[in-house]
Symmetry: C2
């Protein structure tokens, strides 16, 4: 069944109104009729099966039939702080990261990031990311849409990091060392409801200075297997591993 994330203001008791692009999607793309059902997601994470009672050109009115109690959210809140990558890789990371259960994304302006996200581009970029995460959330049956936070510098990210229970950063030097910290050990230590911050370097990796600053501020360096992953693959490896650990392996 098709899913739509509906803003809080469009819920009223047993009635839901879908507007804008989503109303167009129901009307013109899905060619739904009165009496058809869709799933509406509330921003609080709940979802309900709703029946279409009336279709106007730019508004669709629905009645709640049944609240669902399924959750497709990871038990741990994982935030991906991604060093600004080249090209459209950030699009790929937010799309796949949403499918894989990320809670939030923070674009991180790293020392070796070669792209510049200036104020002029920022607004357009943020709107595109918001569209990607909404569509990926609907497609992957998420209960909530991940948040895209404003771009941060290293010092802003370190300040933000005080809000998290566990902080890690994949570090290539770590993958080469015999005494690397095991990602498994860190994930095993996570408890449901905890917040994990994963800081990922851009194409050129972290500078020695960044790695030192992160370590000093409680981030543990980790490796993600013995192979060297591209920057856009690191977030996907981390999220898939956490999903596998808690949702498929049942190690905890």
């Amino acid at each position: 069944m098709q899913r739509y994330f509906v803003p809080e203001t469009d819920w009223d008791n047993m009635n839901v109104t879908i507007q804008g692009d989503d109303a167009h999607h129901i009307n013109r793309v899905m060619r739904s009729k009165e009496g058809d059902s869709v799933i509406c997601n509330h921003p609080n994470g709940k979802a309900a099966i709703c029946e279409i009672s009336e279709i106007e050109s730019s508004k669709v009115y629905l009645k709640i039939q049944e609240w669902l109690d399924t959750s497709a959210e990871l038990p741990v809140e994982v935030t991906i702080s991604q060093g600004l990558p080249k090209g459209d890789k950030f699009d790929l990371i937010v799309q796949k990261g949403t499918e894989l259960g990320a809670h939030s994304f923070i674009p991180f302006n790293a020392e070796r990031s070669v792209v510049v996200w200036d104020d002029k581009k920022m607004d357009k970029k943020m709107k595109r990311f918001a569209k990607i995460v909404k569509e990926a959330s609907e497609q992957s049956h998420r209960n909530r849409i991940p948040r895209i936070m404003p771009m941060m510098t290293l010092s802003e990210l370190i300040e933000e990091s005080s809000n998290y229970d566990v902080k890690i950063f994949p570090y290539e030097e770590e993958a080469r060392s015999d005494h690397h910290k095991s990602l498994g050990k860190i994930v095993k230590g996570l408890e449901a409801g905890q917040k994990l911050l994963v800081c990922i370097g851009p194409e050129g990796g972290f500078s020695a200075n960044e790695a030192e600053e992160l370590t000093k501020n409680g981030f543990s360096p980790v490796r993600l297997g013995p192979r060297i992953l591209r920057t856009e693959t690191a977030a996907l490896y981390t999220l898939a591993s956490i999903s596998y650990h808690f949702e498929e392996l049942g190690c905890n």
Copy 2:
């Protein structure tokens, strides 16, 4: 250190010759000089640090300095049989799948594949995939380049599947069922050196007929977490989970 995969015929005792595009890469892109070192990978999976002894315009001559005993290969041989997806998604799957340790790839002409790979396109496609897996192997420090096998139909794939120890297929219906088979249970049962075949449907998923045929022929349906993944994300989830399990969690 830069890595190059060198065909068997270009190894002779303590001497290695790098030709073609890779010679151009050493000469013009890396601007290497005599006395510089690179890592050469032999098709048998071994790798050696080699010193450049002479540079010609289209050939680079090297001497083996030291054989390396590191391996970046997954302990289990994972073959991804991917239902032909739309657009350039197969490129993404072979690139990321190589980074994540896949042993081989099989393009699978599924019932719901909407694209057609005809003979005319096939040769060009296979050459592009070969280039992608070689470059991704070098970049991710693999010991061997994954193999791209010819496109197969369902019955050809089922015949091929007799060469594998364990066979699975992610199935959306499975993700919705309460009695789904746990991927963790299957991965836990794998032993080093075993061969795993993962069959992934295209955008529209498997038809009921395909799912039945696969099940009848020893493929276990699995889910990859409770979220619905796009076709190109399924291979990456599976490979990352297997890497995490054996290489980072050390569950076995």
